[in-house]
């Protein structure tokens, strides 16, 4: 949807995912959109180097989120919000349905 502007579908997916979930890691985003981790990782790197995202290690996982100090953050989020509203309802719903409650280790289901 924003590919002509952003130059990459993977970049759009990364930004849309982070807009909906606030923070995430490469394999989660890649798995959600059924894309390769390397595709997603390279976009995360570009966005972090450009100051759009920031990351920090949580345990052994590098978590990414929007840089609250990015100069165009409000404008970017407004654009992404609009783009997200044009996504299929099923995707919008899945993006919003994020399990945040704990899950015991080794639980089969």
């Amino acid at each position: 949807m924003l590919k002509p502007l952003l130059g990459s579908e993977a970049r759009e997916k990364v930004l849309i995912f982070l807009l909906a979930r606030e923070r995430s890691y490469p394999s989660e985003i890649a798995s959600f959109f059924e894309m390769s981790i390397s595709q997603i990782q390279s976009q995360l790197d570009i966005l972090e180097n450009g100051g759009v995202l920031v990351s920090k290690l949580v345990g052994r996982t590098r978590m990414y989120e929007f840089n609250p100090q990015y100069a165009f953050l409000n404008e970017l989020k407004a654009l992404l919000e609009k783009a997200l509203s044009f996504y299929p309802n099923a995707i919008q719903e899945s993006l919003k349905m994020n399990r945040s409650r704990p899950r015991r280790r080794n639980k089969p289901l």
């Binding site: 609250p68 100090q69 100069a71």
Partner: protein
């Protein structure tokens, strides 16, 4: 002129700033090195953060830095004769959501260094505290505010615009 090996952190920053200016690349000192400058070196860091105000092409930046012996590795620039690490965070030049309007030129034996005002330096450090809860950044903001004349009213207004009035009170209380 001094060799890179003998340059202090700020002299290296000035050397790079002047060199890049010849290539029409505008950079402004920020982060820990700026805190060092305004705290009379009471705060020490090995980083040199120079905001690349107009976000020039990376290739142009790498090429210009290579001319003075700095090599890029993982987006950080190193010189074989120096312990300092140079980074160019992308512009625009802002503190939080606000554009920095005024900068100043400071003369060193190695060149001219462009810096923000002490008030903007405090805002820059406070932005890290406000958005990430970074306590060392708060301590740096206090250090600069105690060493230099800063406009507290302006910082308070800015803090309100950033949506951080309570956090500003923490800063103000620690100042007195």
């Amino acid at each position: 002129m001094k060799t890179v090996k003998d340059m202090t952190q700020l002299e290296i920053a000035a050397f790079i700033c002047s060199h890049l200016k010849q290539h029409a690349i505008e950079v402004v000192l920020s982060g820990g090195a700026l805190t060092s400058y305004y705290s009379n070196n009471k705060y020490v860091s090995k980083d040199v953060d120079l905001i690349d105000v107009y976000s020039v092409s990376r290739r142009k930046l790498i090429s210009a830095m290579q001319e003075i012996g700095f090599v890029e590795k993982n987006r950080y620039f190193h010189h074989p004769d120096s312990e300092y690490i140079v980074e160019f965070p992308p512009g625009p030049l802002t503190v939080g959501d606000e554009i920095v309007k005024e900068t100043y030129q400071v003369k060193f034996s190695t060149g001219f260094l462009t810096v923000m005002s002490p008030t903007d330096c405090v805002k820059n450090r406070l932005a890290a505290y406000y958005h990430w809860g970074d306590k060392p950044a708060l301590a740096q903001a206090i250090l600069v505010a105690k060493q230099r004349k800063v406009n507290i009213e302006e910082i308070e207004k800015w803090s309100h615009k950033e949506g951080k009035p309570k956090e500003f009170q923490v800063f103000k209380n620690m100042l007195s």
